[in-house]
Symmetry: C3
Subunit: 214 residues, 3 copies
């Protein structure tokens, strides 16, 4: 199996996992059938579409490659038909979501490099690929994006994308490098869940600040 096929398969697994998480959120908000499919597709492909527009990959693969849409439709169908089972999967979903996070961060960064862009753009757009869809879901459902308030999530994507870009700049393009970068991101994410790691929040003097905002 060549390297291109590997990236495609990884991408579709990540797409499926992210689409499931979108469909679950949409169903919980009681959106209709169309709303569930839209949110599932948005979570799975939204970040990649923004990445493609920014690197000049026109048209965006998420919109023109039928595999992504078909994967999002399949994930929506699974969520609707087997909702009680999917809902019981909280722990497995977090696990697969961590895999998807790593896959998207690494393949997103690699795609930006492949299009000839620099390391900064590759790392930033790796993160956008991985978390952009989730941010869109939260914005559309009118809630503050979870990644801005919660555990180490986008930071894990940043780490994975940086590892991949580092390998690429070091000239290490062995078959195992994307897998290693994906695993690095995934382990940081899972460890943060397991041990409750968080980034610092700066609380300040609450009363004083509240007065300030009024």
């Amino acid at each position: 199996m060549n390297s291109h096929a590997v990236y495609t398969i990884l991408d579709l697994i990540g797409t499926f996992v992210f689409a499931i998480s979108g469909a679950v959120a949409a169903r919980q908000r009681r959106l209709d059938l169309f709303g569930i499919v839209v949110i599932a597709f948005m979570v799975a492909c939204g970040g990649g579409i923004v990445r493609d527009v920014c690197i000049g990959a026109i048209p965006p693969a998420g919109l023109s490659n039928w595999r992504y849409l078909a994967t999002a439709l399949a994930a929506s169908a699974v969520t609707i038909l087997a909702y009680p089972q999917v809902r019981r999967l909280r722990q497995p979903v977090l696990f697969f979501d961590a895999i998807g996070l790593g896959l998207f961060a690494v393949s997103g960064a690699q795609k930006a490099l492949t299009y000839g862009h620099n390391a900064e753009l590759a790392i930033l757009l790796g993160v956008v690929s991985a978390v952009g869809g989730g941010v869109m879901r939260d914005v559309v459902l009118s809630r503050v994006p979870a990644i801005l308030e919660r555990e180490i999530y986008a930071s894990a994507a940043l780490f994975g994308a940086a590892v991949q870009v580092g390998f690429s700049y070091a000239g290490w393009t062995d078959w195992w490098t994307p897998w290693f970068a994906t695993l690095a991101c995934m382990l940081v994410r899972l460890a943060s869940l397991r041990y409750g790691w968080r980034l610092p929040v700066f609380q300040g003097r609450r009363a004083a600040e509240t007065r300030d905002n009024s």
Copy 2:
């Protein structure tokens, strides 16, 4: 009148109708003069700008063609000066909005095909052209996009775009095909309003889910 002129005129009628609906929503939220114009312009042109960016039509027509801005300004002026009359138009507005939906879905899908893209992209971006501006309006005004919770709206746009792409792939490019596709979208939308058609919502066991979300 050649076919290109027909598409331009259809597009401007759709722009006017959508801009009216944006200006009414902005005025109800008591935005100032500038806010009303911005929301009117966003509802009318936002979806088309996203479509143009995704198909590589740079610069987006909505930003560089003065006719769109002028139409949005005219719609804002009408809404401000004749608000009581416009507000009484609820039924007519829904009627014209259905026309706008069909026009934008069909002309958006056709533009993607004209730029050489495939059927999937054309249908998806036809829907984005038709409903994207409304979604932006709802996101900016901090409410869950109506199209995700309500009647058959985006689905009607999907139907119209698919009919247009179907004609195009079948090689039927007679003068009446875009009109037929527009009419198909419009009738689905109006019938859904008239007869209260809705897409299924999956309610599940409410209490259990509510506990889950907490």
Copy 3:
């Protein structure tokens, strides 16, 4: 110092000021370290990224030029380390924000012209450069964008961008023209703050409208 260097320095000053305002808003919402940096970067670079995508400047400078990211990081660090001092700066922040507004409106419009686009696009994207990041901040933090409800802000950006485009079309490209346009925008903004200028809001009959919305 050549003209290109001038635009770069102006742009970085505007970036720093806008990033500070984003970091303050994020800290007040108790976002974590990553959230503060993301919002600071988004306010500072979001509008420019949208502008670059719309004029075909791929990749967007905000994502590929390390100076912007470094400036946003520096502004975040200042906000976190010296928060009490920054918070006391309300008046100075409004002053610097007015400078940033003028700088971004003028340099954004000029960049669109440099890429060969027309006056309308240049003015609209000058405004987007200046206010787009702030709108994204408000959308992500789930509040109605301040620019749609408040004082003369986006209108001042529109004025500055129009003055710059006017000079360019008149063939006046002396060294002082961008400074004059920036100053024009800044004075309109500061005067609106000083004298409480507002654009008209159309109140209508409140009770009737409220019934309508229900």
